[in-house]
Point group: C2
Chain length 365, copies 2
């Protein structure tokens, strides 16, 4: 049995459990994980459809030869002239899914592509992938762990390469470019590289730009790359010379928040318990208002994927889940401070993938 | 009046015409065009909402400081803990849109983000952006034309740079890298670079890869870059030495198809008339089955945007519209041949933006 066949069988078992008749995926991470098919994505709908007894694709005719090299599943082809509706009807008829009572649609799909199916199955219950494909993707097997571990070590080295290059007068973008070049040098694809110097670091998703690094700056660096179809994500802090007033204290608080989450993370625990623990440490220190986001997110073929580790997440954690623990304290106008670990949950608690200490890196100026 | 204010006023006039109470946009090209706001996009919904009297954003709290630097419009912030529904309700109440009868949703938005609004306005009529934001974006003003012309000339030079480097033994990916490097050297962002050698060219969206160019190969090259917020897109053919049997004839047919579409393109003509004219030439020559896609697509801030030039398109063409004319003949197992011009429609017909002849480039081997 191929990996795709095995995953399809697991999906069908989940569909049974959840009472789902039809799963509809667009080009993207869910489909890549399930069938290892990566079709060209544009405004033309490409839909993978799975029922108990069938699996196949709604496929634009101009993509058929290229996509056909990636899968043996049947294609219901449509041309720009006809549009996709006729082919969709033929597919649903053949699959016996024209009167599906419950279907799942890929939440990342374009709204107009999802509407094609939704408008055709108006009386069916619509869900997104969380309890089917999403649930399956959360638990990583040994091969996936090995790939994620190799990715994590690449990110460690990219961080160190950027630190080695950093000096006053460089721009954020120049620092980010060093990290990206390091990923490329190891055959990985740079996926994102946030470098936030001084007050810019107080914006969690700061647009890395032309701000020049100067002595005394606190620098947040949040980088990730992709190789072997998996990804990395790490955040560490650097200080250009002497740390500003209050930095060491805030760093210690955020580090304790990481440790508090690690302490409570066990299989069977709900995800919000980790967020509660980390948030509790930060709130108790008086910075509750400055921790602007959830504690973490899953990581795998995507940089952000289930499980979500937030104050409202009821997801029960299980062995093999891989996710970030990344508390932060954002002091508008001053600096931001975030520390991020990627962990895999083992029977006795989280194993941290990175081998880089969480200490702030002191850059000589 | 700023450009954004002017576009917002034009959108509201369109909403009046079309009887639309509410327009909902996600991060992407529609929003970038309308308000010049480019928020970080992830699984957290960011929605721009426009009514007759109001405009504002549903905004994740962690993006607020960063996005707030791009706009003065009000934010309805939500945290990972609360989720977006409460903030959405507050926004709809304030905007008087809780009982909207008709709304438009960005067709490129994630399905789960669109569902937030759709599930809240179950009895309202839902449309996508085609007749509102999409209709406005189709007609380019003089500044937009100037930016698109500069982009087109960059793409011409990137094509020539790739041709100058091409030789037997190079891979498709190496040729593509030359084109991308050229865009970068002019300060543009490489957006896509399809290089299809020999039989690979018969797949319109071939994944450029490790296939090695060899003597006698026909090479399709379809490249585009982005600068000044606009984009380019051009396809030309190259031949490695002597063209294979039948190539020159097929090239002449496709070139005649381009000319036939240009000949009929005038303001007031429906888009399908262009597709019909080009397809007619190809069908008459016996290759109707081998022209796998529509004739063209609009180009602007996006590489693919309205108007769509297809056999079923009823869009009435107008002065200032910018779109591709790109017929192709795909001969599976042999080669593919596509020629693509970007044109702006003037009162007396199309003006071609590229200054590169459509002749196949002969590469000395």
């Amino acid at each position: 049995m191929t990996k795709s066949d095995a995953r399809l069988a697991r999906l069908r078992a989940k569909m049974d459990e959840e009472g789902v008749d039809l799963v509809v995926l667009g080009p993207g991470a869910h489909l890549g994980w399930l069938l290892d098919v990566h079709p060209h994505a544009d405004e033309r709908p490409v839909l993978a459809m799975v029922t108990k007894g069938h699996a196949g694709f709604l496929m634009p005719v101009l993509e058929a030869e290229s996509a056909g090299r990636q899968t043996d599943l049947p294609f219901y082809e449509w041309s720009d002239d006809e549009g996709p509706k006729g082919a969709l009807d033929r597919l649903l008829d053949d699959f016996g899914a024209g009167n599906a009572g419950s279907f799942v649609v890929d939440e990342t799909m374009r709204a107009d592509h999802a509407a094609l199916v939704q408008d055709r199955l108006l009386n069916a219950k619509r869900q997104f992938c969380e309890s089917t494909v999403g649930a399956l993707r959360m638990r990583k097997d040994a091969d996936e762990y090995a790939a994620l571990k190799r990715n994590a070590l690449q990110a460690d080295r990219a961080m160190q390469a950027a630190w080695a290059a950093m000096k006053p007068g460089m721009t954020e973008e120049e620092v980010a470019a060093v990290a990206r070049a390091h990923f490329v040098s190891e055959g990985a694809k740079p996926l994102f590289s946030i470098v936030g110097a001084g007050p810019n670091g107080a914006m969690p998703h700061h647009h890395t730009g032309t701000t020049v690094l100067k002595e005394g700056d606190v620098v947040v660096m949040d980088i990730g790359g992709g190789s072997e179809g998996y990804s990395s994500d790490i955040t560490r802090m650097a200080v250009m010379g002497e740390a500003p007033e209050g930095f060491d204290e805030v760093h210690a608080i955020v580090n304790r928040a990481v440790e508090a989450a690690i302490e409570v993370a066990r299989p069977g625990v709900k995800a919000h318990v980790l967020d509660d623990a980390a948030r509790g440490v930060i709130a108790e220190a008086g910075y509750g208002e400055n921790f602007l986001h959830r504690l973490g997110h899953g990581l795998g073929t995507e940089v952000h994927e289930p499980p979500w580790i937030s104050a409202s997440s009821e997801t029960v954690l299980d062995e093999g889940m891989v996710f970030s623990i990344e508390p932060g304290i954002y002091l508008s106008g001053r600096f931001g401070l975030r520390l991020e670990e990627i962990v895999i949950l083992r029977a006795d608690g989280p194993e941290i993938l990175s081998e880089l200490p969480r200490d702030a890196k002191r850059i000589d100026v």
